[in-house]
């Protein structure tokens, strides 16, 4: 398996959507390719970090104001 072929399966591997045979092939490639090991682990980390940090928070006061505005207008519908 080449690095390009590995990369084509990267998302399915991360999302755990690969068959057992494919997984074995991918692991075999990983055992001999440090580059793909790094790509896999840092891509996983990228997702994990974005999941963990809320980048755009809505403060409670603003949230309540917006909710109220929505519902007031719904009631008039």
């Amino acid at each position: 398996m080449t690095c390009s072929e590995f990369l084509a399966q990267l998302d399915d591997l991360i999302d755990d959507h690969v068959t057992a045979t494919m997984r074995a092939d991918l692991e075999e490639h990983l055992s001999g390719c440090d580059h793909c090991v790094v790509t896999l682990s840092t891509t996983r980390k990228t997702i994990e970090i974005y999941r963990k940090h809320e980048l755009y928070t809505l403060p409670d006061t603003m949230r309540e104001r917006l909710q109220k505005a929505i519902l007031d207008r719904c009631k008039k519908c």
Partner: protein
């Protein structure tokens, strides 16, 4: 939490009905309290998606309001064969794109335009990251890095990444809410992940911040 007791025929549920469906049905009959529950449940996520697309706080607030209002007005059109949230996201994405077009007059903005970019199709920065990259930065510095990094991606990549990886929608749901094909979602997700990874490497690689200069 105590175990859920099931008895008699309650155990046999041929099809699980999503709790949102019941709320939508009540809201259709004019029960605004039911709709309020849906608003409270999803407002943060809708705001986040809108902010990721428009990159403008006021626009994101407006989009959030308009999306929930539009959804309320169109509740009769909600088929129930998709999740309410997926349907709501689709409305919010369209509203966000309209706002974006207004701001960038004359410039085409679309989620489905094919972005021709080779960037990220092959990883270049192959340095490993430090074991705990987050330890190098404070909370707000970290949020700045993450915002700046994702803002550099084309809108169609950003939104796929946010829906799939942050919101946890499936590929099918993401495709449905963006009006994209499944292969298009898949190819964007891979490129989005790899581009973010590549860009974050500058900050998180071993031997730290020097790379970012």
């Amino acid at each position: 939490m105590s175990t859920i007791q099931t008895q008699g025929t309650e155990e046999v549920q041929p099809e699980e009905v999503h709790p949102d469906v019941a709320l939508v049905n009540r809201a259709r009959e004019g029960d605004t309290a039911a709709y309020e529950k849906l608003v409270r449940q999803y407002d943060r996520q809708i705001f986040r998606i809108a902010q990721h697309i428009t990159q403008n706080r006021e626009d994101a607030e407006d989009v959030m309001q308009d999306a929930f209002l539009k959804a309320y007005e169109k509740l009769d059109q909600f088929q129930g064969n998709s999740k309410f949230y997926t349907w709501l996201v689709r409305i919010a994405v369209n509203e966000s794109l309209m706002r974006l077009r207004k701001r960038r007059t004359g410039k085409m903005v679309s989620i489905d335009e094919d972005v021709e970019t080779e960037e990220g199709s092959m990883p270049r920065d192959l340095a490993d990251w430090s074991p705990d990259p987050e330890a190098q930065y404070g909370q707000s510095e970290m949020a700045d890095i993450l915002r700046k990094t994702i803002q550099g991606l084309p809108p169609g990549f950003r939104v796929v990444f946010v829906l799939r990886d942050v919101d946890g929608l499936s590929t099918e749901e993401t495709a449905e809410s963006l009006g994209l094909s499944i292969p298009a979602v898949k190819s964007r997700l891979l490129r989005a992940r790899l581009q973010l990874r590549e860009r974050l490497s500058r900050y998180f690689r071993k031997n730290g911040k020097d790379g970012a200069k």
